[in-house]
């Protein structure tokens, strides 16, 4: 049986910490318990850290303390006061630090072996090297991601054959790594780390800002793996478990995020590989798609939502679903209104007929004149199957057939989500500038189906059903 000596106590703490990490992550995966989740994990972290000080045979305690303080103090303060909108780049930075830490641990192990300390198994050394490679890539890659998101660097650096060049660098780094493990010669080790650090930078440079969240998530998973590998080398199960878990969760999360953005991971990483692909989507003024889940979240956490129905809602017979969506939002405390344009649909009062059928109370229905000044204060406008009646061209382009028609100024809202099946034009048969606006996202699909999807997603936010 396990004697209760100090060593065991530390091991027990690690065990508890690992358990808390797992449970914390689980709690973080549901909106209701998310806040307690990070706290559980935090307790685990503190416990493990304190316990480590009690490890027998630990030297340089003062140095460690200083390092911890240097590490904690600024990041803590910075994290406290950074603007909510700047958080994604902070995550990138902190993640890079973790990767760097793992890489440094790997470096120490390699150098230690090189200087003839107790040589770990080849397997362990190889893991140390792999962990270092991944960690180093994560470190420099995350720094680039941070710089781009923070607006300190905004061009995409691309040159022909870049992907091949990067692949070559990666290959050379791996070779160096293998040599380093094999020969344990310092030059190999140094070359390996230089290349690994460079690789992260090179990989990230060509990726556009819009894809950065996916990349950060990927590097997050990388860091997790690196930590796990170094954990194996150090024989520390807390590191192995936490790292592996984050690695696996992070990979999945990356895939989910990419999917939510309608991209594949491959696409994100190698978007200009071969020149083809969906790179064209980045051009300014393109229609930007959105997933139902994100549109739902946008509305669910909004204060004011205006729904603009048009002929497409009638065609899709989506009125019941849209009203259900509105009710769900209202139940969450969102202020919802319906804005009917005078000529929406194909007959006077077309939308009224449908909304009445669905049971929308009259007091939620606003006229164009009443609602137009309100759009500026509106968080999300949901346009379902309306086209001409929200087309800003009616105001800006005298040559347009709809020039002079008053429109619903949906374009003034903070966000616009447009549900339509595809690139179909409206009655007037003209392009709609709203669909290309910066604040507009397109939710492609049949009106009824998309409305249904939105309802489901809003429900999911309420925790399942």
């Amino acid at each position: 049986m396990i004697g209760l000596n100090l060593q065991t106590l530390v091991a027990l703490s690690y065990f508890v910490a690992a358990t808390l990490f797992l449970l914390g992550l689980q709690r973080m995966s549901s909106p209701k318990t998310a806040r307690s989740g990070i706290q559980w994990a935090g307790i685990g972290m503190v416990l493990a850290t304190i316990a480590t000080f009690a490890l027998p045979g630990l030297h340089n305690i003062a140095l460690i303390l200083v390092a911890v303080i240097i590490g904690v103090a600024p990041t803590w303060l910075w994290g406290k006061k950074v603007a909510i909108t700047d958080m994604p780049q902070m995550v990138a930075l902190f993640n890079g630090m973790g990767g760097g830490s793992a890489a440094a641990i790997g470096a120490v192990e390699l150098f230690k072996a090189s200087s003839g300390g107790e040589r770990p198994s080849d397997f362990a050394l190889a893991l140390a090297a792999i962990g270092s490679l991944i960690g180093a890539v994560s470190l420099t890659g995350s720094i680039i991601a941070w710089a781009k998101l923070d607006g300190r660097m905004d061009k995409r650096y691309t040159f022909p054959g870049q992907q091949w060049f990067n692949a070559a660098i990666a290959l050379v780094a791996i070779v160096c790594g293998a040599m380093a493990v094999h020969t344990l010669a310092v030059p190999w080790i140094v070359a390996f780390f230089v290349l690994a650090l460079g690789l992260g930078k090179l990989m990230t440079l060509p990726i556009g800002g819009a894809d950065m969240p996916v990349v950060i998530s990927l590097y997050n998973a990388f860091t997790g793996l690196a930590v796990a590998f170094e954990g194996y080398v150090l024989g520390n199960p807390a590191l192995i478990i936490a790292g592996t878990m984050v690695g696996a969760a992070g990979m999945l999360l990356t895939r989910l995020m990419a999917k939510a953005m309608n991209r594949s991971i491959k696409n994100v990483l190698f978007s200009n590989f071969g020149g083809g692909g969906s790179g064209g989507q980045e051009i300014s003024g393109a229609q930007k798609p959105i997933e139902a889940a994100d549109a739902a979240a946008l509305m669910a956490y909004a204060e004011r939502v205006v729904i603009v129905p048009g002929y497409g809602m009638a065609v899709a017979q989506a009125q019941h679903k849209i009203w259900e969506l509105a009710q769900k939002l209202i139940a969450r405390g969102v202020k919802v209104k319906f804005a009917i344009h005078p000529v929406a649909g194909r007959m006077p009062g077309h939308m009224n007929v449908l909304l009445a059928e669905a049971g929308v109370p009259y007091d939620l229905i606003a006229d164009m004149d009443d609602i137009n000044p309100e759009f500026a204060n509106t968080d999300v406008v949901l346009v379902i199957g309306a086209n001409d009646v929200v087309n800003p061209v009616a105001k800006t382009d005298p040559s347009s057939p709809i020039y002079g028609m008053p429109i619903l100024d949906a374009v003034n809202a903070k966000n616009v989500v447009v549900i339509k099946r595809g690139k179909g034009t409206g009655f007037a048969g003209i392009e709609n500038a709203l669909f290309y606006a910066d604040n507009t996202r397109m939710l492609y699909g049949d009106g009824a189906e998309m409305a249904n999807a939105l309802v489901s997603e809003v429900k999911a936010l309420d925790g399942g059903h």
Binding site: G71, G79, N95, A104, T244, Y301
Partner: protein, 99 residues
């Protein structure tokens, strides 16, 4: 227990657990979860502490020191940011009310 496999088992179990936990997560939590898991791998800190604690050469000390600083930054920053992100779920109105 056949020893070489222990780490493998732990790897496998932790990976599956991580995967299963994330598999049915609402989109709204993607970013907080990324941030939260970012915090969790801040546990690298304790590995770094051990390394620094056992460092002998100056090079090892320097690298170990860097490792601890970075790891501590990862853990501390990750925590603060995640907690702030998750704060938005505090104010969220009771959704059971009429869902």
């Amino acid at each position: 227990m056949s020893d070489g496999f222990t780490a493998l088992y732990i790897f496998m179990l932790a990976a599956i657990a991580g995967h299963v936990i994330i598999s049915r997560v609402p989109v709204i939590l993607h970013t907080p979860l990324m941030s939260g898991s970012n915090f969790i791998h801040g546990i690298v800190l304790i590995g770094a502490m051990v390394v620094l604690g056992q460092a002998q050469t100056t090079l090892e000390q320097v690298l170990g020191f860097i490792a601890v600083v970075l790891g501590a930054g990862n853990a501390a920053g990750g925590y603060v940011v995640t907690e702030r992100m998750l704060d938005m779920f505090k104010s969220s109105k009771k959704p059971e009310a009429k869902a």
